[in-house]
């Protein structure tokens, strides 16, 4: 069997055919570990949406999670698993999204420093969020090269541990606690649907479900304009995304390597929706459920409505991943 090596700067993950993914006890322990730093989010139902979709939907509301997204789980788990020696040097990442805020908050709560590399062009609101959680922002030019170089420099200067947004076992283990809470409710779901960008949430969801409810189908929901998981799944090999274009701005990233290895093993299928279908689902959630979600978060409901052949008459879990949306730019 081949060997994949990922250089994570100050930690190297070597994945072989024997790579150990988080086990059920690992995920349970992660849940206990991050408990003081996260909300146990509610599961909501809505009869009007059920009627429309022709199935019984249970919405796990991670839009109500700390920092407004499931990312709080993985970041907290990764930070809390650091050795005290690593903690003394802090954590670093490059992100302008929910992971940046989640890592800054988790670090701050653990009493350690965080260094967040952000493009100088990042929206003011994202900068403020990171600052409000006590993160130190290091600006870079808005190119992938500048981002990586700046992160390398920060890590070299500070010795901080790089915590990537999804391609990391501790992050995946943290995201897996969301499905753990779902399965603890004993809803006898036939299917569970999560959005897929880098694959942290979908990977974690698939792992937990594999352990606790192996008969439940797990679907990834992806925008048509960033359908690398769909195409990878069809081709049975990781195909990176080039030039993604979708309103679901949290799902623009390509699948991570570790995430792909989990997804190809434990996910039933990947389904896609157009931006128009995503916006319609998003609107439905605002109008009927009276809750605020970001576009990425509406993709699972969009595919559940789009593919009745998969979901009709079933009990379906849908993970609403986050609620951080620019209110001035709602698509309706």
């Amino acid at each position: 069997m081949g060997t994949l090596t990922f250089g994570f700067l100050n930690r190297t993950v070597v994945m072989t055919s024997k790579t150990t993914f988080p086990t059920l006890p690992d995920i349970r322990m992660a849940h206990a570990r991050i408990q003081p730093m996260i909300h146990r989010t509610p599961i909501l139902t809505n009869s009007a949406i059920d009627h429309l979709a022709g199935c019984e939907i249970y919405f796990k509301c991670e839009n109500f999670q700390k920092v407004g997204a499931f990312k709080a789980r993985g970041a907290a788990n990764a930070v809390l698993k650091l050795s005290s020696e690593q903690r003394s040097r802090g954590v670093a990442t490059h992100s302008s999204g929910n992971h940046a805020a989640a890592l800054a908050r988790a670090a701050s709560a653990a009493g350690i420093k965080s260094y967040i590399v952000m493009p100088s062009t990042a929206p003011e609101i994202k900068k403020k969020a990171v600052e409000s959680y006590g993160g130190q922002i290091i600006f870079c030019e808005p190119t992938l090269e500048a981002r990586q170089r700046t992160l390398d420099e920060v890590v070299a200067d500070t010795g901080a541990a790089f915590i990537p947004p999804y391609d990391h076992l501790d992050v995946i283990e943290g995201q897996a606690t969301c499905a753990l809470e779902i399965w603890e409710e004993e809803l006898s779901l036939d299917a569970l649907v999560a959005p897929v960008g880098g694959g942290g949430l979908l990977g974690g969801t698939a792992l937990t479900t594999h352990y606790l409810a192996p008969k439940c189908k797990v679907y990834g929901a992806e925008p048509e304009g960033a359908d690398d998981a769909y195409r990878s799944f069809q081709a049975d090999q990781l195909i990176p995304m080039k030039n993604p274009k979708t309103i679901a701005d949290g799902l623009l990233t390509s699948l991570g390597n570790l995430n792909w290895e989990i997804i190809r093993r434990y996910v039933t299928d990947v389904l896609t929706a157009s931006d128009e279908e995503i916006i319609a689902a998003m609107r439905l959630v605002y109008e009927r459920m009276k809750i605020v979600i970001e576009p990425s978060c509406a993709v699972p409901l969009a595919v559940v409505i789009k593919y009745p052949a998969y979901f009709n008459g079933k009990k379906v879990g849908v993970i609403l991943s986050g609620g951080n949306v620019d209110l001035g730019k709602l698509p309706f």
Copy 2:
């Protein structure tokens, strides 16, 4: 003592100094009565908003109520208290707001007819809501006179019972069940704040609180541009609103007579906020709590933030009254 007489077309309420407002047993019985037709809505907290407001706020989320507003309570109670003879002839009202949808739904659930008089200019979405709940719409010209005349005709033709939106003891009794649920949580609140338009919710809230927690202060929250309750309270006499103008479109109506009699007795004070302050509070709820509310619903939080002298360091209940907002016209 004087006698006030209100002609409710097919029922006449005579209020004397001995007028009996709903008692605590009445309110408890109403709660049991409407239970199958309403949600027990959740009470949410938010540490970021607490920090900003300098107090501990408990949000009673009636935006998650059936038909998206507390109005479901009063309409259900009024419908279920009709005699079987009255039921056979149905119910009628004039409204283009939440009460219309709530009455149509309550009637439909009770298996009786509802006739809703609406101006021909009412937004399409409001018409559709009433129709979707099985209400029969009768259009009229968009004037107060035409509205009243059309309602009179409908009632004369059908014998339907007129259920007004707030100036009605059964409606007030129904709205009073919202505070009942709050007090059942035993939160030891120092203050409770509800929005005030016609005074159904504030009246009911004040009554229940008078019975169950007489030391708790009850505040009405009103837009500056529709401040008849504030002015009535200052003058200790009912002063109707002329030419109201505010973004809080659910609070444009003048206080009802019965509502005023309760409010003057049992409400501690009425506080007002400008449209700008209302929009800022509304935005805060969307951004921090990730829930959808209508502008009227943001007025209580706006006054809590505006008047720290009243609320600083206190435990404050805030009733979020509804979430029916035109998403295409959000003020941010």
